[in-house]
Symmetry: C2
């Protein structure tokens, strides 16, 4: 196999500044995170990519259980008629659903849809299970695959089938449901910060951008390195819309039959796309340590020398038994080749040890986030590595946060807005709340309303688009951005 | 809410000896493991059932990773034409597949099938990934949902959609592939023993019973309490059948292009059905401790007395922090009601503490497997509970093993066979190997060939059905049984 040098490695990846979309595609394919499936719009999540998803699942699942949720599993095939029981829901999803019409040769009496989301089938079951106020709240989550036909697809970011989790809860009061909606949005945002090292903006979605069937959708938006926004997760206040469509009623303490209030919330394999585009660089991936499948790669230097491999093996085993996800590269590639490959694959720490290091009782550690080379004592290596992984995490988060903060521009006119968007920034501005202005901005600049933040301290006194000075409270602080 | 006594609890579950199928249905529904879905043949796995599946997944996934496998995810929708590339495969699965013909209003140029299993789509990807002998072996597993239309369905045992794992591996030589096939069968059998406390018979399947597309299928069979067999998992030696159909070729060391040898192996949510029918009794479920969602239920006695609840809470927290899956029942139901309910739900240990126990520094523990009540010291409770959970596991396994051993009858005639089957036993016998005898036995007694054990020490000298005395090696030791 021909050896490649650094330049060749880099050549194989498109320029991150000049062609970000191609850079993304090159990186996800070359690092073997993902591959295209045979059916248009489908993806195969390869072992290196799936291991990231497993780590995401583990961290999120822990948080869901800590907040009192339990997992369950509902059928993938849903009678078509279920979708029609919530008016906005069917309008939103009808064009995107995959329809099952036959089992083998036999035509089905009613066509079925592959779930695009599971509100409807879950409501059908909740109707059976919920009879009394004693049965509330219902706090259930599902890990599942869903399908929504997409015309323009990109691995992880938008594919017809994707993996996700969907929480579905029922509550006695609207206050309680709203509290749940915010609680889970906060769980997501905390996870983004502490696990994916990625800051997010949270807030309410506009009517146009909300979930088909919700009273209100809250979302979190992450800024990618090209200045575009990625919706990383949503949490919906569904009111009683589905409960009414499915006739879920419970007997309340006062002896009356009432509709419960409902929420749903979800994140998906899209998060993998988010972390790639929030942290990568020209050399490839840079994975946040807490989800990196390999946190530290051990590379022996001058491995033909006596004892070098053995010592590297010892290192590796010590790290593994300390609970660090370590890997070793004892292949016959050159060290330079290995350095480039594992950098491209985004491994947070590289651990090198050659004969002189062994003599001196030290190892060399190179950080993926800063490329800094640090000589550390061999003794206590596992603790040092654990500490460094935390430092890498902090630094990655701080860097992403600084990037985001420096790429949000407050605008008070369409001219300012256009300039900010062309400078690859998010726009923070005031909006009158009318869908016409929202549409006009989309038409003019291909930018969409992302979220209205919870902190509504005004940044101007008129709508950035129509210039209307509204009554107090009508004018909204809002972020616009080009988005994935 | 009306309180129920023991008799009422028991009345609600059909007699396990008189109507085993109804007993099973009553138990899985009343303990809220599962519910029927709205589409015929579908099931909803409720939180208590899904928690068992999560524990099964955790234990199996650990074993798969320890044996060098990595997880990945392949698309759920497969082009119909893929299925036709392996002749037996399409014949086996064509009548059972769900067909997707439209996305929304738009008819698809080629119909897609919801995966009934993933050999074909995985081979399509392996063709892209495997070029050289250096790329072998490929050791990949997938956790996924699959769909096979079934006419007669029962929760967990046979449903159209079910959850499973499917391992798919490629190897250079047939020896290596065969070794993998046996290795994973052994992983399964070890898991059955050490996690589900359930003994199995392993061996080779007959041609009739093998997987559609395999050269050979090896399986494990578990004996249910009604003397019927349940196929609990299979491991297939696929030869080069799919590799040829999908033109997977690799350049070997000798410079020649060759087909790799392939295996696949899987277990499913069926295992939940297996453990219920291997261990349950008239009072309901009896869950093996290592998969029980709740391993110990803490019930305060005379909880209106001062300090009783607080002490129970302390107990509960201590168990939880020792890594025991504990739960507490502080509801206002009577202790008797609670005892019955948690017995029905199969919790391995019940931990009671009343005012006198508190005074004496003891707690009362009742085992679900023996109903034995044991007084133990309050000090060191977590260790005692951990030890008792192991003892419950051992006892459950030994009991199931003794039951199985005493329900296998060696037969040398059809008369003996009929009697054994009617006595709810497995039949161990000799078979000439011809499909006609196999079919005749099925027709006569509704019993099917389960496995030909690896230990082929003869138990007779002629075929139990046709009476032929075959040449050495042709006559097979085989198990027949009625089966799920």
């Amino acid at each position: 196999m021909a050896k490649k040098n650094n330049a060749q490695f880099v050549q194989e990846i498109a320029d991150i500044n000049e062609n970000f979309p191609q850079w993304y595609t090159d990186v996800v394919l070359k690092t073997e995170l993902v591959d295209y499936g045979p059916v248009k719009g489908s993806m195969v999540i390869r072992p290196y990519g799936y291991a990231i998803w497993e780590n995401i699942q583990k961290e999120l699942d822990k948080r869901f259980k800590e907040t009192g949720h339990k997992n369950a599993y509902f059928p993938m095939l849903i009678p078509y008629s279920f979708l029609t029981r919530e008016k906005e829901h069917i309008e939103g999803f009808a064009p995107e659903v995959a329809l099952v019409t036959h089992y083998g040769e036999e035509e089905l009496p009613e066509k079925l849809v592959v779930r695009p989301t599971s509100e409807t089938i879950i409501c059908e079951m909740y109707k059976k299970w919920v009879k009394s106020y004693r049965d509330l709240p219902v706090l259930i989550n599902q890990w599942a695959n869903v399908f929504r036909c997409e015309k323009t697809t990109r691995p992880f970011l938008r594919t017809s089938e994707f993996l996700w989790q969907e929480g579905h809860t029922l509550h006695r009061t609207h206050e309680e449901a709203e509290e749940e909606t915010f609680k889970m949005l906060n769980v997501y945002a905390e996870f983004m910060k502490n696990v994916l090292a990625t800051p997010v903006l949270t807030g309410k979605k506009t009517e146009k951008e909300k979930f088909a069937g919700a009273n209100a959708t809250y979302g979190m938006e992450a800024m990618m390195l090209d200045g575009k926004s990625l919706q990383a997760g949503t949490s919906h206040d569904l009111g009683c819309n589905f409960a009414k469509g499915f006739e879920i009623k419970y007997l309340d303490k006062d002896g009356e039959l009432k509709f419960p209030y409902q929420t749903s919330w979800g994140v998906s394999t899209r998060l993998i796309g988010a972390l790639i585009m929030a942290h990568g660089d020209q050399r490839g991936l840079a994975l946040p340590p807490r989800v990196a499948p390999i946190q530290a790669i051990v590379i022996p230097i001058a491995s033909h020398k006596e004892g070098v491999i053995e010592k590297a093996e010892e290192l590796y085993k010590e790290l593994m038994s300390a609970g660090i996800r370590a890997e070793k590269d004892f292949s016959d590639n050159t060290p330079g080749w290995k350095f480039n490959e594992w950098e491209m694959k985004g491994v947070p720490l590289r651990i090198e040890q050659g004969p002189r290091d062994i003599e001196n009782g030290v190892v060399q550690i190179v950080r993926r986030d800063t490329f800094e080379k640090i000589e550390v004592q061999r003794d206590g290596l596992a603790q040092t590595v654990a500490r460094l992984l935390d430092e890498v995490h902090e630094n990655m988060y701080n860097k992403a946060k600084a990037f985001m903060d420096s790429h949000i521009v407050t605008c008070n006119s369409l001219e300012e807005m256009q300039k900010a968007l062309d400078d690859k920034c998010f726009v923070k501005t005031m909006w009158c709340g009318c869908p016409e202005c929202e549409s006009k901005i989309k038409e003019l600049y291909s930018a969409t309303a992302r979220v209205m933040p919870f902190d509504q301290t005004p940044v101007g006194n008129k709508c950035v688009c129509c210039g209307k000075e509204c009554n107090e409270g009508e004018l909204k602080v809002i972020y616009f951005a080009r988005a994935y």
